[in-house]
Symmetry: D3
Subunit: 319 residues, 6 copies
């Protein structure tokens, strides 16, 4: 059960309205690493968790993230306060309002659709989606996802701090950023409090494939490091990379019954392509003798793109 | 630059077609933790990376994940081979085909829209979205995201193994699952090969808030653990949880110019609600004297929901 | 600031696990009219609201909706408890697990991706999106949206009650449904506590168009009712429907400068279609003399679709 | 069956091209409260409706909204006419075109992807989604949704009028805005022409919970109003808010069979966290002795965020 | 199986960083007609294809499109190189950074969320979705989709060339554009190498409807052309357009069992609207005697929208 | 301007209700190739088109597609008529209703959320998105997209015909399928009525790259056909595939100013990975000595996945 207290978890002092900065702050309100994503990640995990310690931890932090959602949303509301009222009251000249809200698509949407209220969109105007929430009901995976999410959220706050010079906002963002660091520490402790946490889940891997490193990207720039060299690793390199790792022929087959086989053959025959044809095509029909294209069917004598652009610019208007 | 060899990285032997199982396999083809998400996560990181070792690592694994996408997609294609041809050729009786593909919404869509080909949707038919890709251009965050993503992918493969009894599929899934374990190990090595990797980014946290643990969820079930107790933590508990952490008054304010203030006041006045009114509302107008509702404006004498359901079932048809 | 108490707002007693029913309950967890949509609708409005009475109301109900989200999520968690553990522990035979989770695409996704935890998807597996949240920062519009949203949520709960025979779930759903009724009443009172609430906003309509009713759908079935007849309405009917309502010529024009006009003409000329041509097309090339199609280029003698299907079934396999 | 007449329902006179204004107009073409959303809301309701009066009404207004979609789309086409041709013909210098279309992300997309044609995206470039359509097949809910939708659309038009000073556009928007007012009046009449329309649906609420108001958000700012006080309401306040409303213990339970119970126990044991551990974590490993961080594992001596930013800026480049 | 070589398929020389241009280039990285869409369209078709020639073709081009994805992504990375490092290192003054990234919503998101790395979003910040991929497992349809997709991609590259004056970028875009032309030619050849490719699929059309052209949009502007006139066409015109084409009554009916019929009647009766009522509505309650609205319930004497705006601006603030 | 006539363009006779079949029909109502996608594709093109012939054509067909949307939606409404009323009236036993609607996730959503009304979702429950609409304002590209779209829609109708044995539905689907064939023919004529239609747009390709075919997928299965051989093609094969096509070094570079270069170096240094380290990682910490894993840090002696599964099943419950 949730309760709410009308005070914020952190006092917000915004120096002056700035609708464009408001839309940037939305990144942490309705964005991929924003506070709603955080709150919902932990809340859904907490609901399904049976371990009492982790359940408590997840609900504590989920609840705090809701309070953070309120802090960042309040910053947005303050930054929009001027434009919101002006728009509602028609109190500025049209041209002035237009300039104010039109700096970018997202501030236009923030003003026109949301009227300056905090909206669950990101800094480009994309609505929040639960596709951001990666809870999977396996604690050793979920805690790693939480660690990563806190690490990402920390970075986004750091970037917002780097572009803001309003001291009150900077301070509040510093608080929010720091809390992400603290949450990451908690999730790290909870992960390692599970004794046997790697690999996640219950099934061990197949030994033959667990230590192989496939050098799938070759050429100048190949490097050795602890992630592909040393005694933990067997390197698959050079032409071996193009061989099936199971030693088989690398094909895919399925056992079809005789009915299925017959129908599959019929389909194949019906849609068969004739590799020996040289058919006239729609493109052949359409490659007209127009300006800038030679009639041999190739794409013209344009030596390079600069010539092509020049040629296109000078193309005479057909009558 | 990419090259392709027509052999698969792992030989696929499917015992017999099964379109419903095919749709479950789609989870790792076009799903949130599937192989396209993996390939695109590492590929976008690799493109933007300047550290030569990590760049190499990311492109190696991105490329391998594309090969895995091909393996899982080939399994889907094999499982659908029968239904695909039958549907195209109209070779089964309607009722039989309908039964075959109608087992779930997603197998209907797989058959009707995609014709049995491997589609970039998940096991519930939702199209793949780049919202799954959490690359952030900060290696200490990205590597943590990669570790978490591999851990999640491992679990989904484990679950698929647990519901499949086709030995050829099981074997191929075991290979794919194991590779995720190996990839996680590589990303772990790469993370810890960055000397100072916590917290992510460059800005340190604010000391005053970095060690606080907020017991925001209270009541029976409160637990102590290494994530909230011990010398690394200062516990905020009880009524202190409802106090702003900065010691301020917990309000949000913005400095408005006099014009803005005047317009904001006008808007407030115009949309003011009158708390002393007791207006007749649309609901009052619409709460008719119908069956099961008393005329006193409350919602009836239904002692509980069972009575309410019974009452609704017996509601006479109005004339 | 939010606080959480580990007790639910309503005690949940589920008789036995049922993963398929669980996925139906998701409609009110992560669906369009579910509790997250409700909580976020009111929360975002509350953050931006300046009227103290409405702000209080919105935050009260937003908070309660979060508690409802927890109740419905707990029902989902209970219904999935068996399948979740069996899947994680590999404790059932594959075929049995497959049957259990394969009843629908969404229960497959719930099991395979989310491991049986409550996920922010709807009953068809679509992730929750903030596109469901229609807060617009204008109280007379927002309160109407809230009234409508509560009315919709009430209906979805009613439908869930109608398909459930677990008495504990039915009871909890009855509670949740009733709270939506109570919330609607509150929002109705708040709307009518704004003295002048229709039309929304500040701009009056243009008198000439405000009372017109356009009978745009004509023919058998035309009806008169208070929505189009009586002294509040001027009916536009018959052929008048096809006339521009402003009395103009119904065209769209723009004033182009001479440069723009010249370029627009060039584009028009370049992409001009020749209405007097009778060109051979790609379809003409491709309409081969195959089975079931006459060679005259029309689509064959199939008198009706039954013949066409029969003809297609009997189409000989080409060699 | 639909027919179309090439004249618009309202004559459109645009003074001069303006691609940036065009993207703002898209809010009512492909946005959440735009004309496609309106047309599809009423059309889907009309198709499923059995009451002859409402069916007629819904199809009348759905059809008119399609005509409005055409009006607003024609405004967009006119505003883009210059940039569309210039882009297609390569008729401006690159830098000039870049400036013209690059004012915001959405006008870039409008130009680059859609070539200046009217696209079903909103003013921030998000594609229209049927998630905006909230038809639910229950007339008392649907009509409330329609009333709310018209009210929202009216407001968005009002905001567009407030930012536009092209008189021809302003006039056309005024027409469209006024029609939304008229439509709201029709839907209101239709709602109240259903005698017993509150609550929606057939099931009455449970009396015990129908009049309770939960003061879930407490503290300075608590207000009384007709929405929570007076004889229609029973107030739940103070500490009572944290008590389960059913008088139970507020837990969630499920009856598990013995097999399920055994497996659930096994899972719990396997993933148990050890609250008495104080494990070394990945964060402990990664919290290096770098600049700006003390070696005691806390996050440094940064007194506040300003110091932290300064410290980060001065951080020496490692060798 | 895929392999990767660290060299690009085309050498990229970017003159100088430009984060705003970078976001425009994203259109071909993560946009609807971008390279990921192309690669995935052909790759999913290739996996499911049984004809050896087409399978080879599809995998060849799918692989090349992945190389193109790398080229365009590298352009984005280069254009962002300056802002990425400055943001990460906090190396510019806040106001300067803010200006740099704030030019549009999408460049803000590119910087704040993605840190300047190439992200799978389009030029307006919308995440890539597999809804763009229209593979349907029927080669005559898929090849037409591929032809169309190449044609669209060609155009978007042409537009990008038209707005870019960096010669290195222009040259690389010219290469990519030309490859789309070559790919279209290949797909055209493959389509016409299927002897009988129109109409797609196996079922012939019903002769009675295959040559009809319905003049559904009438009025000034009606034109004749080869698409609706000549011996291939039967024109349905004038009032005939409004007649059901099957000669029936144009109604929809279903055979209901007696139980279903009885329940449907009950529902109809319960939700029946009373066309003879003239109910007071919520709008009637809310249409207060405010400024600018007459008390007769109409919407005021505003002769036109200019008066309405003026009236609204002068509306006195209520007390 | 649109007008509507209450008769359908094709008379619909449904034999009996079938909610599961209804959800399959949704593929052509709210699916990717459904009638709304068709109508909106042509309508948006028509609005922006300046060529009078094509404008007329596009509006004719757009309007007809709206009539088709009505036909397919009416089929859905008829198929759902029984379940809709039963659900609304609570007229069946819970278990029976549950069985009826629970056949798939999408039929659950259709019933629970949409109440059996036709909804703009596809056969897997995904909401319609304008991402399906590929209008690009270039007629030679748009007409190709239209040809492809008609071809796809034809196929989906053919598949629906193949799974339906209700004669009335089959007949209506046959009509709709045939109209797609006719529309394709019209769009083909319109494309080839543009004299010079290949390549699309104005810019010619660069000759050097226009005839190259890159054999990017090599190995057994390489084929020759008219799409890669013959005099129109220059084959790039073997090791040449891995060489940059421009003859350059295949790297990407950008000209950075000295400030940018300095900051980029600082970032690189700060986030440098140490390839010579062999750090202990989180995975090393977490790879506990649990059941089924050897203590050497590798993943155990599981010879293959069958053993691994067996081992996991027998894993003792830890205490």
């Amino acid at each position: 059960m949730f309760m709410h207290n009308k005070r914020l978890q952190y006092t917000v002092r915004v120096a002056e309205p700035n609708p464009r900065l408001a839309t940037m702050m939305l990144e942490q309100f309705g964005g991929a690493d924003g506070e709603l994503a955080a709150a919902m990640r932990y809340f859904t995990q907490g609901l399904g968790e049976d371990d009492p310690g982790r359940k408590d931890l997840l609900l504590d932090i989920a609840t705090e993230e809701l309070s953070h959602l309120e802090v960042i949303g309040s910053i947005v509301a303050m930054l929009n306060k001027g434009v919101k009222a002006s728009l509602a009251e028609g109190a500025m000249a049209e041209a002035e309002l237009y300039r104010e809200i039109g700096a970018s698509g997202v501030s236009a949407k923030e003003a026109l659709l949301f009227g300056g209220g905090p909206a669950l969109i990101d800094s480009a105007g994309t609505p929040w989606t639960a596709a951001y929430v990666d809870s999977r009901s396996e604690p050793t995976a979920d805690l790693r996802s939480n660690i990563a999410a806190e690490s990402r959220a920390k970075i986004v706050y750091e970037r917002l701090i780097n572009i803001t010079d309003d001291p009150g906002i900077k301070e509040a963002l510093g608080f929010l950023m720091t809390r992400e660091i603290a949450h990451q520490k908690s999730f790290e402790k909870a992960l390692y409090a599970i004794e046997d946490n790697f690999p996640s889940g219950k099934l061990p891997g197949v030994a033959a494939y667990a230590s192989a490193y496939v050098n799938a990207s070759q050429g100048a720039g190949d490097m050795a490091g602890p992630w592909n060299s040393g005694e933990q690793w067997d390197l698959i390199d050079g032409a071996d990379v193009a061989k099936p790792m199971d030693g088989g022929d690398g094909t895919a087959t399925v056992g079809l019954g005789s009915d299925d086989r017959r129908v599959a053959e019929a389909m194949k025959a019906r849609t068969m392509s004739d590799p020996s044809a040289n058919p006239t095509t729609g493109a052949d029909l359409g490659a007209g003798p127009g300006a800038g294209r030679t009639s041999e069917g190739d794409l013209g004598g344009a030596a390079d793109i600069k010539d092509a652009v020049k040629m296109a610019r000078e193309m005479p208007v057909p009558n």
